[in-house]
Symmetry: C2
Subunit: 108 residues, 2 copies
């Protein structure tokens, strides 16, 4: 099954979230699943791709507009998750908001 | 050790490469390492972040300009790798070229 996000023609927006976790696991998986579920229900959500090895995680979510990203950032349940993330789960992270200008898909 | 790319203030550019591999492993690791090494030597290269689980890989490389991305795309050794990738290693991939408009770093 393809795990690539089925985004439409550019332009659209991407949020690249790269992170390294602490040793604290408590509540993380459940919260991560809940956040993907909630984000998927947001207006302007286009898709998400996520991969992590033992050390680094990269999650890229795709959005229709900067406004949709702002709405999601300010979503109350997401705010709770962000705060717990900084206090407990993340050693460090980088979050980058980008405009996707062109894309290219390949399938065997 | 931090595996996050130390990029400067936006704007700059990101190439998000999300892929799912075939069963063919031959030559892949060696080529992937060689490509990271070569890309790092390119003018305008800012950094790279890469994570893969058993099924999906996400590599994000960061660049000074669209021209730097174009030069790397057309690099002869990279062309060879791209062709082998399509013939042997990748079941599917999505490649997205983006302009990073803002970013946010966190460190505990």
């Amino acid at each position: 099954m393809s795990r690539l996000a089925k985004t439409h023609q550019p332009p659209y927006y991407a949020v690249i979230f790269s992170s390294q976790r602490t040793e604290i696991d408590k509540g993380y998986e459940k919260m991560a699943e809940k956040m993907v579920e909630l984000a998927s229900q947001q207006k302007g959500f286009l898709g998400v791709e996520s991969a992590h090895d033992g050390e680094l995680g990269i999650t890229v979510s795709y959005w229709e507009s900067l406004d949709a990203i702002k709405q999601w950032k300010e979503h109350s349940a997401h705010q709770v998750a962000q705060n717990r993330g900084k206090k407990e789960w993340y050693k460090n992270f980088a979050l980058r908001v980008c405009k996707v200008e062109r894309d290219n898909f390949f399938e065997m």
